[in-house]
């Protein structure tokens, strides 16, 4: 187990290193200069600016400086957004993103587990049909379509929630729902399949035979065992959430890192794009690693093969 974790952490560092290197050299390949009005600047001024930003050094030395900076949490300076350090841009905006992300994953998984469990217990009834229907909708309809529809009906037509604003809990409800749809659908679908399997097993039969009520049987025996495999889908769900947060934050004008990412892409703000790319990759890889390790601890039957990762 310890060896496995070390190996995985090794791969993680290697992957991050590859991403960091690739982004750095791709940025160096970009045509043009980082200064908006280079034509108006004298050669002397450009030289001073280059010295200030360390752009006069050889590319390889810049690369080493960049890597060392990364290790110190220094992602460089944004070309746009008032030349703020990228690390400041990220740290000042990560709060709202985290809040919505955590709320969405809690809402999505809890509701998904309930919906899936009920569907499995009342298999082939109308409850099951309704749950399956919602699971398909949640899986199929893109989160930005959901976000736009929620905004139209609940915020614009019914005026229950603010349309696009970041001010307190009530403004986080719609984005949370929009983001939670995909995890909800995935969890419900997975939970139903697992629960149906578990309910057919011998120990459930035994629990019933002992005279447990159906509710006790489900709560004490079935639910626990069905939950184990659900942990595996947390990784892919985290990816969906990160990608989803970009559009959802953009639609609801939430000052988060997803919104920042989209803005940076549209304004060619390369240092910020690189910083956020690394941050997203890092979070993603850590989530997948933690899930894999957790899974090994919770269910010793699982032989760790390292093939559980997902993009």
């Amino acid at each position: 187990m310890g060896k496995y974790i070390l190996k995985r952490i090794g791969y993680m560092i290697l992957t991050l290193f590859i991403i960091a290197t690739a982004t750095f050299f791709l940025m160096k390949l970009m045509p043009g200069s980082p200064y908006a009005n280079q034509a108006k600047m004298s050669a002397e001024q450009i030289k001073i600016m280059n010295q200030q930003y360390g752009l006069d050094k050889p590319v390889f030395q810049q690369y080493i400086i960049y890597l060392v900076g990364l290790l110190h949490g220094d992602f460089g300076t944004s070309f746009q957004f008032n030349n703020q350090p990228v690390s400041y841009l990220i740290s000042s905006r990560i709060g709202p993103s985290m809040q919505i992300g955590v709320q969405a994953i809690i809402l999505g998984t809890v509701l998904g587990i309930l919906l899936g469990a009920i569907a499995a217990i009342r298999k082939n009834s109308w409850v099951d049909t309704v749950a399956t229907f919602f699971a398909i909708l949640g899986r199929s309809i893109p989160n930005f379509v959901f976000a736009v529809l929620l905004q139209f009906f609940l915020a614009f037509k019914l005026k229950i929630f603010p349309i696009a604003l970041w001010d307190g809990f009530s403004s986080s409800i719609l984005p949370t729902i929009a983001l939670a749809m995909a995890p909800l659908a995935t969890t419900a679908r997975f939970m139903r399949t697992e629960m149906v399997d578990v309910l057919n097993s011998d120990y459930i039969e035994l629990a019933r035979a002992k005279g447990n009520t159906p509710w006790q049987t489900v709560a004490k025996h079935a639910l626990r065992n069905s939950l184990i495999p659900v942990i595996t889908i947390i990784g892919p769900m985290a990816v969906d959430l990160m990608v989803g947060s970009m559009v959802v934050e953009n639609i609801f004008s939430i000052p988060g890192i997803g919104d920042q990412f989209v803005k940076s892409i549209t304004t060619n703000d390369y240092p910020t794009i690189m910083g956020l790319t690394l941050l997203y990759s890092f979070m993603l890889i850590v989530v997948i690693l933690v899930v894999d390790i957790l899974y090994g601890f919770i269910d010793p039957r699982i032989r760790l093969s390292g093939n559980e990762g997902s993009n």
Binding site: Y11, M12, L14, T15, I18, I19, A22, T23, L26, M27, L29, M30, K123, I136, L137, R139, S140, I141, P142, F144, V145, V148, L149, Q151, F152, F156, T193, V196, V239, M242, V243, M246, V247, N250, I251, V262, I265, T266, Y270, I273, T277, Y280, S281, L284, I285, I288, G306, N307, G309, S310, N311
Partner: protein, 343 residues
């Protein structure tokens, strides 16, 4: 024993002669023997949702193919004078397609306001540049399907051979190929697209390249796992013993037996790819203006939906229907090809 045998008396009438053809009839299997595919199609036909999805998608595909040569009007042609016209069909008798809009509480005939000639109408209205939304929607759907088709192509051209080779070769080659997949798959898809955008200009090209890098990985993994089990089957062993070349074994024995996995997985990667393109176009790094994509149409519609909701409805409905239909069909195919998974 002896007593009993004397009690029972047999004569010629005790026996009935069975004609030979009778035996054949009894041995006959009443149901026609079905191949694996016929059986799967039979099961698929029982799934109503999948059948409806199939025909719906067939219709959408036909429409998209038509849109290559013909759309009601040029999807990129701008008529600024006819900007933001609501949907109207023929003379505007059908509710929802009247060509009238609610402006500040009053119903206004926008077509009369813009002095549109009486014969001209836009089925789904026009956008802020006066472009025909129906034509743009047709082009957008066609683009989504093209992306889906390319995703299938990558699955088949890269994913399947990669998985078969990795599974068949085993040993060091397999380990190396799997490590490669692991590293690629731990880089988020979106990051790869953005790296591609740093290299190329945003557009179909960079999306396709990104799909080419990551899109086939799930397929390769599934095919490899399946190949590992197929490889130990007796018929493969027999083919090897008879000196068949690995390439022929792959074509004749492995791929046909992998076909259900391959079909199911391609059906799941199509909606994923369609979503991916729409998402990128929605945040503005996908298909560049002026070309239409479901993502850009939706993004434009979202900006003005308070005043012109029709510009958002149709792209939203189109992408939702396409995604639902593909997912239902994929579910149906999985159940049909792999009845074990069906509860």
């Amino acid at each position: 024993m002896a007593d009993n045998s004397t009690d029972i008396k047999f004569n010629e009438n005790s026996f009935k002669k069975i004609e030979k053809h009778n035996v054949d009839e009894q041995e006959k299997i009443s149901a026609p023997s079905l191949t694996f595919f016929q059986d799967a199609v039979r099961r698929l036909k029982k799934n109503k949702a999948a059948v409806i999805s199939f025909w719906l998608l067939a219709l959408i595909v036909v429409f998209s193919i038509i849109s290559i040569w013909w759309t009601p009007s040029d999807p990129n042609a701008q008529h600024v004078a006819y900007a933001n016209l609501p949907p109207k069909i023929a003379n505007g008798q059908i509710p929802g397609f009247t060509g009238k809009a609610n402006v500040g509480g009053r119903i206004v005939d926008k077509y009369a306001q813009a002095k549109v000639p009486s014969g001209t109408y836009y089925v789904l209205g026009t956008d802020y540049l006066g472009r025909d939304l129906f034509s743009r929607l047709m082009k957008g759907i066609a683009l989504s399907l093209l992306i889906g088709f390319l995703a299938t192509l990558f699955d088949l051209v890269i994913g399947v051979p990669y998985g078969v080779v990795s599974g068949w070769k085993g040993g060091r080659v397999d380990t190396l190929m799997q490590r490669f997949i692991e590293i690629i798959s731990s880089i988020p898809n979106l990051v790869i697209v953005i790296l591609m955008l740093l290299l190329f200009t945003p557009g179909l090209g960079s999306i396709v390249v990104a799909m080419g890098i990551t899109g086939w990985i799930t397929m390769a993994r599934l095919v490899r796992a399946e190949t590992l089990t197929l490889k130990t089957q007796e018929y493969v062993l027999a083919a090897r013993t008879l000196g068949e070349s690995p390439f022929k074994i792959a074509i004749k024995h492995l791929v046909p037996n992998l076909s259900s996995t391959i079909i199911i997985q391609t059906m799941f990667s199509i909606p994923t790819a369609i979503f991916f393109e729409a998402f990128l176009s929605f945040i503005g790094i996908g298909i560049p203006a002026p070309n239409a994509s479901l993502g850009t149409l939706l993004s434009d519609g979202q900006k003005t939906f308070r005043f012109l909701p029709y510009q958002m409805w149709y792209p939203a409905a189109a992408i939702s229907i396409i995604m639902i239909a593909f997912n239902l069909l994929a579910d149906g195919l999985r159940d049909a090809f792999d009845p074990k998974t069906q509860e």
